[in-house]
């Protein structure tokens, strides 16, 4: 295991920033730590880096116990959201900093810095100051600076959070490529689920200081483990109803076949994604009549607000091509079916 935390806790004046968190990250893996703001993900990352001291629990880095080791002894690279580049140093001196404080030979430092400048595609920028670089370039320098002393672990705290959408997308691609080349065990914090899904091979989702789910992006998306994950990841509809009879729940005209383990009268919440709502103009099978109350154009999909009577509405997403071919209009009567859903007892 390259990074392992066991029962890690950090409390501030009774507020549980991180509570009893355990996780193991394999050597060479690329993992995302996803969660809403205030969920404790940054605190967890900072504890792993040695910037915060845990109240309880253990941290092991490449098999060594490092719970109370100084930041210096851990040999981790850390990338801050706002870059934290040394303003008064050139790009070269920034990248060389970690090597110089380790008293390495200047010739070796030069070689390493130029190698990294090539890796971040900023060769020729070594004499510039951070203020003379764009946001994306600054963040790449920050990554190079963190990688310079050859850390065993690379930690990134919302690395692309301060950048605009276009640059963010480029840097995602770049960090993936970089990870393939360097193969450093990488853990990055983000509140952007799109980013987590695109970049990471594994996602840890945190909420209220605890890890709620640990899985691949597909698992997280298709098999949410908790209420929170079901409504946090991706867009979703949710409806509250109760078990009608063993194995069946009813909501308006919709019938859901559910686990027979749930007892009748049990209150449940059913989550289903807008793109799991199948909409047609003609009745096929097992569909429900609905009226398109509102249409919203969302780029690659069109979102419809469907009115199914009894004051009940749900949203459905249809790929743009399909929607345009079908010619759906506001006020039109259509037929809808829910093709996939998740049930959680309340």
């Amino acid at each position: 295991m390259s990074i392992e935390v066991r029962g890690l806790c950090k409390h501030y004046n009774g507020f549980k920033a991180v509570h009893d968190v355990s996780a193991k990250l394999e050597t060479g893996s690329l993992t995302a730590l996803l969660g809403p703001s205030g969920s404790g993900k940054s605190t967890l990352l900072r504890m792993i880096a040695g910037l915060e001291v845990p109240d309880a629990g253990e941290i092991h880095l490449t098999g060594r116990e490092a719970t109370f080791a100084s930041a210096k002894e851990r040999n981790v690279g850390f990338v801050f959201q706002h870059y934290a580049l040394f303003k008064h140093m050139t790009v070269f001196d920034n990248i060389a900093f970690g090597l110089r404080v380790r008293k390495q030979k200047e010739a070796g430092i030069r070689q390493r810095v130029y190698e990294l400048l090539g890796l971040i595609q900023l060769t020729g920028y070594e004499k510039r100051y951070p203020s003379q670089l764009s946001g994306g370039q600054r963040q790449r320098v920050a990554v190079a600076r963190a990688l310079a002393p050859r850390p065993e672990v690379l930690l990134l705290d919302e690395p692309f959070g301060a950048l605009d959408a276009k640059v963010r997308e480029e840097l995602r691609e770049w960090i993936l490529k970089l990870h393939e080349e360097t193969n450093v065990t990488t853990l990055f914090v983000t509140h952007d689920q799109q980013e987590a899904m695109e970049v990471a091979s594994r996602i840890l989702i945190m909420n209220h200081g605890e890890i709620e789910q640990d899985g691949t992006p597909i698992e997280i998306f298709d098999k949410p483990a908790t209420h929170f994950i079901a409504q946090f990841v991706g867009e979703t509809n949710f409806i509250d109803t109760e078990v009608a009879e063993p194995g069946l729940a009813v909501w308006g005209p919709f019938r859901f076949s559910i686990s027979p383990a749930l007892a009748p009268k049990q209150k449940i919440r059913i989550y289903f994604r807008p793109n799991d709502v199948y909409v047609t103009a003609q009745l096929e099978t097992l569909q429900v009549r609905a009226k398109i109350a509102k249409t919203r154009f969302k780029g690659t999909v069109l979102e419809y607000k469907l009115d199914i009577g009894e004051d009940k509405t749900l949203s459905a997403q249809v790929p743009k091509g399909v929607a345009l071919a079908s010619g759906f209009k506001e006020g039109q009567d259509v037929y809808a079916a829910i093709t996939a859903f998740h049930v959680f007892p309340l």
């Binding site: 930041a71 210096k72 801050f80 706002h82 404080v101």
Partner: protein, 302 residues
């Protein structure tokens, strides 16, 4: 319709200068500027010229003699000593306290902040009196000091202490907002990269605060050299021994030796002009980095 046309139509005949509608009429502007300049000339420039003119009243050789007088030389030495010790101590204390206040949370932080401001809020005379009450013969530590043959009041240590006290807040007050604004991310980055505490301080923190620090030191030095009230109380006015430059000026003046008084005063004035130039230079450099005029500028005394 664009803005220019709009103004033309509203203020017909003004030839559509858009800035004109936003400023005062010409006569108001010139009256205000003239009033300000006249006031400045009358209250700053004339006295300044007067100092140098009076100093050279009896010729250049008398001027030199006044300055080379043993009592004057001793006053210069004492002033330089007090300023040097104040700057040295307050730089170290200022950086340490600003570091502690800006980068850490600890109990008593607000108390420390208030205490740092104390010398600004207390009248200098009271600051001097405090030392007299503490170290004077009738004071708290007076008997103990006398028994150990130590003299603080009416001696050099008292003067240094009083100067130290009144110049206490300059450096830390300058650095606290600067360091709070900068946060500690760069220091954290340095530490994760393997730098120790001293390495982080010398290579990351100090370069980031250097201009603010220099600014604080200049303010501290100016006040230390010019301080009158607190020093006057603890000095005892012993010529050649416990007189600083401002006190020496006062003594010469009270002796009706006006020309000598102004000669020595011209030294202080010259120092003030030098400091003003240095301050402006540093301020420019500092402003480039901060773009905010330091709050201490307003607090600084005339």
């Amino acid at each position: 319709m664009d803005n220019g046309k709009l103004i033309v139509s509203l203020k017909d005949g003004e030839r559509g200068d858009p800035s004109r509608s936003l400023t005062e009429p010409r006569w108001v502007r010139w009256t205000l500027i003239a009033a300000a300049l006249l006031f400045m000339a009358l209250f700053v420039l004339v006295p300044l010229i007067q100092v140098f003119a009076s100093a050279l009243d009896k010729g250049i050789s008398y001027y030199y003699d006044s300055i080379r007088d043993p009592d004057a030389l001793s006053a210069i030495r004492l002033t330089l000593l007090a300023a040097f010790v104040s700057v040295l101590f307050n730089t170290v204390f200022g950086v340490a306290s600003a570091w502690a206040i800006a980068k850490f949370r600890f109990p008593g932080k607000n108390l420390l902040l208030t205490l740092i401001d104390l010398p600004f809020t207390v009248s200098p005379v009271v600051s001097g009196l405090v030392y007299v009450l503490l170290f004077g013969l009738q004071g708290l530590l007076g008997h103990w000091l006398r028994d150990h043959d130590l003299q603080v009041i009416f001696a050099v240590p008292g003067i240094v202490l009083a100067t130290l006290f009144v110049t206490f807040p300059f450096v830390s007050r300058e650095l606290i907002p600067l360091m709070q604004e900068q946060g500690s991310e760069e220091e954290e980055a340095a530490m994760v990269l393997g730098a120790g505490g001293w390495q982080t301080f010398w290579k990351v923190t100090l370069p980031n605060i250097q201009w603010g620090l220099l600014y604080g030191i200049i303010l501290c030095n100016t006040r230390a050299m010019g301080e009158f009230g607190a020093v006057s109380v603890v000095s005892g006015h012993i010529r050649g021994l416990t007189n600083t430059l401002p006190l020496h000026v006062e003594i010469l003046y009270n002796d009706y030796n006006f020309t000598a008084a102004f000669a020595v005063a011209s030294l202080l004035t010259f120092l003030a002009l030098l400091t003003l130039a240095a301050k402006t230079l540093v301020g420019l450099k500092y402003g480039e980095e901060r773009r905010i005029l330091p709050a201490a500028l307003e607090r600084e005394r005339a």
